[in-house]
Symmetry: C2
Subunit: 378 residues, 2 copies
């Protein structure tokens, strides 16, 4: 084990932070990876670190901005294939690796950064934003030493055999989500309209308990195919995609958030946004929901929709102030940054200890046929 | 200018050859990148070079095989996203760069290898297999020093401002395409069924001149939507996707190949396959066709379909032996390998000259905002 010198914790680090180049950091409306990238950058700068943010030229940041492209590929459809743009952008940071103590990569889609991790000496951290399926995990196992950052224990559990260097839940800017104790008589559904997010189940819950449901999300094919027919503008209301102020007003006024996720997701930014406004959550037991929603404090997690309906009165009866307090204690930008900062200090100290011992890491042999599948005949 | 020491030409090189990992090298049926990768590898090995082929585990090769994956992603749909598999495979070679004098990358889709080129000291060559559109060229311009290999002058002309280190046309294994002087009374269309390849125009030509047209290609949506209705099994015949022997018999027996390409392609492997069998080509003036089809020798290139129809008797009247001879002189695996070998010797000599002069290349500044588009406000 390597001791981290105590004086390290006052040391200011040179950090390369590689955000996606799909759009500006933060995104103008939706974009959780962009939001987290912006928050982490601002908080690291606030703590005195020398941060270079690799992002689109449209980005406004307190860090030094390095932009290879003026815009993102969500804005400019000629930037195709988008993967090549992400690659060249990522490479720009890796080519300058010697200028940094640590390189932080936000894997908006998949950790393409792994492929660069052995070509540079600077330690890299790769934050995962999706739940890997087994074949992806097998591929990533080509880099068993890479410093993966999981955003929940649920996600970490999918990384068996890999090096999960830290579990760091997302934080939000709590100032932007003001606490509200004045609620109206409605439930809220938030998040994209996909089968996996469970908008139809949210509607079912509202109908069964006889309450209004206000839904906010960008429209989509699934909305028009499956959701719209249930929207009557009275009990079931669709509000479109909201800006920040409307969003906070909607969350703060809700008696509860209905979160009937049908698939396992590694996080749920809307959960902590609701909690920051003091709003309790009625969630299904999928993905990271039971880690974020604390039974009897910030909501209840149920195994079935029947159970969720039965528990909804208990959810709505929870006092709102402790929910806000819980969000402040666990899901602030500061808490998230504490996690990243501790990881960066550890990796920098480990590298320096290795190098001062004259040990340069040696050759790490890539396991041949790391990918599970048929073994070839030769 | 750097003189290449004469003793260099007997020197055996350590070459990493990175083929795609979509399928085996060569592919079992269609796959021009795979075919060219296999041919170049075999010929380099034959010349005594120490070649490591990075490819799928199913590959059979005379070179040393380095396989990160047992199979290719065309065979195993769980290998997704395929880009990440290509990346990890490419990185395996780059991580071992110091073991090689040169690294050859076959850009089956796009040159993702560019992103690695400044992170290693070994010179890389990036062979392009598609015609870049302008926004791709702009992206690649982030690496103005990278050694791109074009497969035709038509393709090179799309690389304005980039470093096209060589133009090296594809070669084929001429032994596999036997010359034939005994022809039957039919025309042939070869290649995928897409609008761009012009199968409908080939059918129109056959009908206008009253000859049979035999078509060979894998079926596709476009075939069933647009082509099948013209196939009567008498004048217009569809033979499916052929194996090598049937393919050579079909090509060798044709009076002419109809090549009514509607879009500009950077090469046309079927053109040199036909020519190797002695079969002349009636082509439209698109892409690299006029570089490969020599008017009055191996066929005629026309600007319109009317002109192509009018010239078809002249095409069919061309003596077949000189066509074969032209293919032997220009499109053998040996000729292609001569091109690559000369390039490799030059790059190795340049690197050694630079290093012995104590010049290590310095910092190449990546142009910010290399990508053409709006300049951001800050």
């Amino acid at each position: 084990m390597i001791e981290i010198p105590q004086n390290n914790i006052n040391r200011k680090l040179k950090i390369a932070h590689i955000a996606p180049v799909a759009t500006t950091i933060p995104a103008e409306k939706s974009g959780s990876v962009e939001l987290v990238s912006a928050l982490l950058t601002e908080e690291l700068v606030k703590r005195g670190h020398d941060v270079t943010l690799f992002a689109t030229g449209t980005t406004k940041t307190s860090a030094r901005l390095f932009a290879t492209f003026p815009q993102g590929y969500w804005e400019n459809i000629d930037m195709w294939p988008w993967e090549h743009f992400e690659l060249v952008h990522l490479a720009a940071a890796c080519e300058r690796a010697d200028q940094f103590d640590v390189i932080q990569y936000q894997a908006a889609y998949y950790p393409m950064s792994l492929a660069f991790s052995r070509l540079i000496k600077t330690p890299m951290t790769h934050t995962l934003h999706h739940q890997p399926f087994p074949e992806q995990r097998d591929l990533w196992a080509c880099y068993p030493e890479a410093n993966l950052v999981a955003i929940s224990n649920y996600q970490r559990n999918a990384l068996v055999g890999l090096n999960c260097a830290a579990v760091i839940p997302h934080g939000i800017d709590l100032e932007n989500f003001t606490f509200s104790d004045k609620t109206d008589d409605y439930l809220v559904f938030f998040g994209r309209f996909t089968e996996g997010k469970g908008p139809l189940q949210a509607i079912e819950v509202a109908k069964r308990v006889g309450m209004r449901l206000l839904m906010a999300a960008p429209d989509s094919g699934y909305y028009y195919d499956e959701v719209e027919r249930h929207v009557d503008g009275e009990q079931i209301v669709y509000l479109g995609e909201l800006g920040q102020e409307e969003k906070v007003a909607l969350l703060g006024g809700a008696r509860a958030m209905i979160y009937p996720m049908q698939i396992g997701e590694p996080f749920g930014l809307v959960l902590i946004e609701a909690m920051a406004c003091g709003t309790p959550v009625a969630a299904l037991n999928k993905g990271a929901a039971p880690e974020i929603v604390v039974d009897g404090l910030s909501g209840y997690v149920s195994n079935t929709l029947d159970e969720l309906v039965a528990k909804l009165p208990d959810v709505m009866a929870l006092p709102r102030r402790p929910i806000r307090q819980y969000a402040e204690d666990h899901y602030s930008a500061e808490a998230m940054t504490n996690g990243y900062e501790a990881l960066y200090y550890r990796l920098v100290a480990e590298r320096e200890a290795r190098e001062s011992a004259g040990f340069n890491g040696g050759e790490i042999d890539r396991p041949e046929y790391a990918f599970s599948g048929l073994r070839p005949s030769r």
